[in-house]
């Protein structure tokens, strides 16, 4: 049974209906074909071809419209990402504005007394160190970039050794060592691609992307460091990291350059959340801490204010 099925499958390709109809027609061949039968046959054929063409065209149409649909879906996703990025940028700017306003208001309040003046100076130092305020000043700019794909050796016309996918791609530790060399050379504030580095900012890899403060950055990486250019530049150029990347330029084709920048503007880092300390809860803290501080929840926000001590 099964072999005959397979045999049928492999040998009989034509629909049996044709043979049967032909045999039947041969049986009553005496009368010949009537014109009426021929006309209806032609109509049948027309109907069949119409259906066939309709089906094939519809399938073609469906396939061609489906492809753009998937493209449209990915485009919609890209659009979502762009909108999300724009929103996050806007929120970031707004946070910067608000914290700048907060600083202004606080300074205005503190400026009324001598103790306040001292506190303000201390706060400014601490905030500059914590990268919480935008800063500007002279410094140097370091440019690092992945090896360009398909770069050719000018001498032989061959591809430069090392495919850009692996060895020519900068890793998070490359940025780390350059940034560390900049700190060691005396930089006072550093940013990578406009992302300001706070003392707790992490530079780490996630897949193929390098995250700085959890924002993905792509090559080329512009590292701006504020400091005295006269000492910062030679000290950095003399550091082990700078010399290593200078030599890697020739080996792997990465981009590396250092230059003086007379006026750099670095924006504030996104505020760091205390990991262990948290604000006293207003409702719980009131009775627990006693009446002395009750009703002054805002004082919890500035724990660095030292107690009195002015003349």
């Amino acid at each position: 049974m099964s072999t005959s099925l397979l045999n049928d499958l492999l040998s009989d390709h034509l629909d049996k209906g044709y043979a049967e109809v032909a045999a039947r027609r041969a049986g009553r061949t005496a009368g010949g074909e009537m014109p009426h039968a021929r006309r209806s046959g032609r109509l049948w054929l027309a109907l069949g071809l119409l259906l066939t063409a309709l089906l094939l065209a519809a399938a073609f149409r469906a396939t061609t419209t489906q492809a753009p649909e998937s493209a449209r879906a990915s485009q919609a996703l890209v659009h979502d990402v762009q909108v999300g990025t724009a929103t996050s940028d806007w929120l970031k700017r707004r946070a910067e504005d608000l914290s700048a306003r907060l600083v202004r208001e606080r300074d205005a309040v503190l400026a009324t007394s001598k103790t306040g003046d001292r506190v303000t100076r201390q706060l400014q130092q601490v905030e500059a160190a914590a990268a919480l305020v935008p800063v500007r000043g002279p410094g140097i700019t370091v440019e690092l970039g992945d090896a360009v794909a398909g770069q050719l050796d000018p001498a032989t016309g061959d591809r430069i050794t090392g495919t850009p996918e692996d060895s020519g791609r900068l890793q998070d530790r490359d940025l780390q060592s350059v940034v560390n060399a900049l700190w060691a050379a005396g930089a006072e504030a550093v940013s990578i691609n406009r992302e300001r580095l706070a003392p707790t900012t992490a530079i780490r890899a996630a897949g193929e992307a390098i995250l700085v403060d959890l924002f993905p950055l792509t090559s080329p990486y512009i590292i701006e460091a504020i400091g005295n250019p006269d000492t910062l530049l030679p000290r950095f150029a003399d550091s082990g990291a700078a010399r290593r990347y200078q030599s890697l330029v020739g080996v792997y084709g990465i981009r590396f350059g250092v230059q003086r920048s007379p006026d750099l503007q670095l924006r504030a880092a996104t505020g760091t959340e205390p990991q262990y300390a948290h604000l006293l809860d207003e409702t719980n803290a009131g009775p627990a801490t006693g009446g002395a501080q009750g009703g002054q929840p805002s004082s919890a926000g500035s724990p660095s204010v030292p107690p009195g001590g002015g003349p």
Partner: protein, 110 residues
Amino acid sequence: MIAALAMVVGVVLGLALEPTVPLWLQPYLPIAVVAALDTVFGGVRAQLDGIFDSKVFVVSFVSNVLVAALVVFLGDKLGVGGQLSTGVVVVLGIRIFGNAAAIRRHLFRA
């Protein structure tokens, strides 16, 4: 003449009207297309064999398309839709190639 005209009309209708294939029907469209191709090749071969009959052609076309889609539909409901559609494509594909070979023998005597 009428037949050629009907085919052109079919193509134009299919392309111009953009008949939106319902989503639940879309998985069966490829199967229906393969069944239709099988019927077309069978019809051409029957014509060359001299036993073509347009009624058989139309009836086998409609029934092949419907049955192929129905088999896959049943398979989908029973959890073997993928395998069954593979089976339909294999069987119809063998028939298409067999008929194409017969057509080639007719045309080129080789």
